[in-house]
């Protein structure tokens, strides 16, 4: 099905992996926590590049898309998954194959023919990457005074289920987060992006400081 095409409207683009990451980032950039710097909500466009295997072709397409000539900053965020080093190399490789210069490491800005380019990995959003995904980050920034207690209960439940039904959870971070959301009336049945909009996450969390600083440095 053909949908409306996405024009490049801003000079600063954040490219992320999937609809949930896109919605999460948009909610973060528009949050009260970042009100002190209006550039973050007004001068950045977040785009979904699809799956990680599509990043290279997406970047090549982006280069030729209407409005790309005006882009000054390109930031890429993806999940570290099970190997943050491989994830980092994969982003660098995609950038190079699309004709950009790639930063030599995470959280570094580099100039590629007049465009500032940098990339980060979820969940750490810092110079010291760790394995994991956006869901791991979300679990660290839950907007809930009793999140620790709830998570203890959820871990017990998952552990019991795993033992009872002899099922090892291959995406335990997703199990944990969605089990948590399902225990809250306000967020039951929601995906990350929807939960972000509904207020599930604490945008003032110090865990997000690295993300904010890196985005700000990109201007």
């Amino acid at each position: 099905m053909i949908r409306e095409q996405m024009a490049i409207m801003k000079k600063y683009l954040i490219l992320c992996e999937g609809v949930d990451e896109k919605r999460f980032l948009i909610e973060y950039l528009n949050s009260q926590a970042l009100l002190s710097d209006p550039r973050l909500s007004q001068e950045i466009q977040v785009m979904d590049f699809g799956g990680i295997n599509e990043l290279s072709n997406f970047l090549m397409g982006l280069r030729g898309a209407d409005g790309f000539d005006g882009v000054s900053t390109l930031m890429i965020i993806r999940d570290a998954e099970k190997d943050c080093n491989a994830a980092s190399q994969s982003v660098a490789s995609s950038l190079k194959s699309a004709g950009f210069i790639a930063p030599s490491k995470i959280s570094e800005w580099i100039d590629s023919n007049g465009i500032r380019i940098g990339f980060l990995l979820f969940p750490s959003c810092s110079l010291d990457p760790c394995n994991g995904t956006l869901e791991d980050l979300c679990l660290k920034i839950l907007n809930d005074d009793h999140s620790d207690e709830r998570m203890e209960d959820i871990e017990l439940l998952l552990d019991k289920c795993s033992k009872s039904y002899e099922e090892s959870f291959s995406k335990i971070h997703k199990n944990k987060l969605h089990a948590y959301l399902s225990t809250k009336n306000d967020f039951a049945g929601m995906k990350i992006g929807e939960a972000a909009k509904a207020g599930a996450f604490d945008w003032n969390s110090p865990v997000l400081r690295g993300l904010k600083n890196f985005i700000t440095d990109g201007f």
Partner: protein, 432 residues
């Protein structure tokens, strides 16, 4: 502009590839270890040069093919025209289109130069002859009856100024093919055999008071110089005949809605196909749009020939069959009768229901390959772009897409391979 022996290719993404600041691309191959010097033995060779216009692409040299074990014929594009460079033509000051494929789709905003690019290719393939300057006006539905230079050819020059030398350079069948036209104030035409003296005198007088054009058409290493003069009684092309006759060249055809509606040559095109006993192919193509069509035939009534289609209701003049049917037949016949040449289709999607567009591209994909005919078309429609992606599955390498866009007044042709275009459309990027 660096025009290499081979068509551009993607820069390989593998270990050992180094792009130097100069643009040259090296391949560094470790062949052993020097125990005395305690270092690897590195066999470093130049394999080509990166394209300034697109840093992901390179012009390869012979070493490239040796090292990567790619047969030259596979790496070279099999498009008839693989690149074109246009200068000072209509609204285009300069544009370079590289790595074209047998099926090319051009897009871009209104007035950016899509149709102009088709016209430039037409004029080049038509060797710049005066009659085809008139054709360009006809394509634009602008009939010029009194052929003064201001009306016929000045609109061809950038800024309507013939002081701006018009240049169209390309690579056709792997060989350089070029045309230039420019103002020549000093040339007085001699006329051609059979031309009445008073017409020659009128043309000479007109040239003295105004000016002529001089030009050159070259293919491979052969060049033909020409002069074009005008007067209210017509246009005249004078060529160096001996050279001209040695340059044989395949056809080019220009298709737009106005031509389809008015061109009676569709009957001739169809008759030739019928003589070649290939009517069945046309019927199969028509069935893609309307499965009820069982035949197409040429009937002559009262001395006038017309094409009719036969469906379950009987015979129907083809003009009543709808724009889509008419256009599909015309495009298919043009491709089938332009073997080894180029068919240029302006606004290819117009007249078709969007659900039929994938079938249109299937037809183009099949016929383009069968008849060795390059099809270069323009579009505004995202549905059409999506249809091209769907209709050309299995022929991915034969297709490429360009978005024409202006940056700081400079026109650029942003190239998308099939895969990149598919990703861009999936990601909903605006690529028109």
């Amino acid at each position: 502009m660096y025009v290499g022996k081979f068509a551009p290719v993607q820069i390989p993404q593998q270990k050992g590839i180094v792009v130097a600041k100069t643009g040259y691309i090296y391949y560094s191959n470790v062949t052993g270890y020097d125990s005395e010097k305690k270092r690897s033995i590195d066999n470093r060779v130049i394999i080509g040069k990166a394209l300034e216009e697109n840093p992901t692409m390179m012009t390869p040299n012979d070493k490239f093919f040796d090292i990567f074990q790619i047969k030259t014929s596979e790496a070279e594009t099999n498009a008839k025209m693989s690149e074109v460079h246009i200068k000072n033509f209509r609204g285009i000051k300069s544009v370079n289109v590289l790595d074209m494929r047998p099926i090319v789709l051009l897009s871009g905003k209104n007035n950016v130069g899509k149709t102009t690019m088709l016209e430039a290719i037409f004029l080049l393939m038509a060797k710049g002859e005066a009659a085809f300057l008139q054709s360009l006006n006809y394509f634009r539905n602008r009939m010029v009856f009194n052929s003064t230079n201001t009306e016929v050819w000045e609109p061809l020059f950038y800024g309507r100024n013939p002081e701006n030398k018009l240049e169209i350079d390309s690579i056709f069948e792997g060989k350089p093919l070029s045309l230039f036209l420019e103002k020549d104030s000093s040339y007085i035409p001699n006329g051609v055999a059979g031309m009445p003296n008073d017409a020659v005198e009128q043309m000479r007088l007109f040239a003295r008071n105004s000016y002529s054009l001089k030009g050159g058409f070259s293919f491979d290493s052969k060049t033909s110089l020409l002069h074009i003069s005008s007067s209210p009684s017509g246009l005249l092309t004078e060529k160096e005949k001996q050279i001209e006759e040695s340059i044989s060249f395949p056809h080019v055809r220009f298709v737009n809605d106005a031509i389809i509606r008015s061109d009676a040559s569709v009957i001739d095109l169809f008759s030739r196909i019928e003589l070649e006993d290939k009517k069945g192919l046309i019927i199969d193509i028509l069935k893609m749009i309307d499965p009820s069509i069982v035949d197409i035939t040429n009937l002559s009534l009262n001395g006038r020939s017309s094409l009719y289609i036969r469906n379950e209701q009987g015979l129907l003049p083809i003009q009543f069959a709808g724009d889509g049917i008419n256009k599909l037949i015309y495009i298919a016949l043009c491709i089938m009768q332009t073997k080894g040449g180029i068919v240029l289709v302006d606004e290819i999607e117009s007249g078709f229901h969007y659900t039929m567009l994938s079938n249109l591209w299937r037809v183009i994909g099949d016929l383009s390959g069968q008849y060795d005919c390059q099809v270069i078309s323009t579009t505004h429609s995202i549905e059409n772009i999506n249809a091209a992606i769907n209709g050309l599955r299995g022929k991915e390498k034969d297709f490429c897409y360009y978005r024409l866009g202006k940056t700081d007044g400079e026109l650029k042709a942003h190239r998308f391979s099939y895969d990149v275009l598919k990703s861009a459309i999936k990601a909903e990027l605006e690529v028109r």
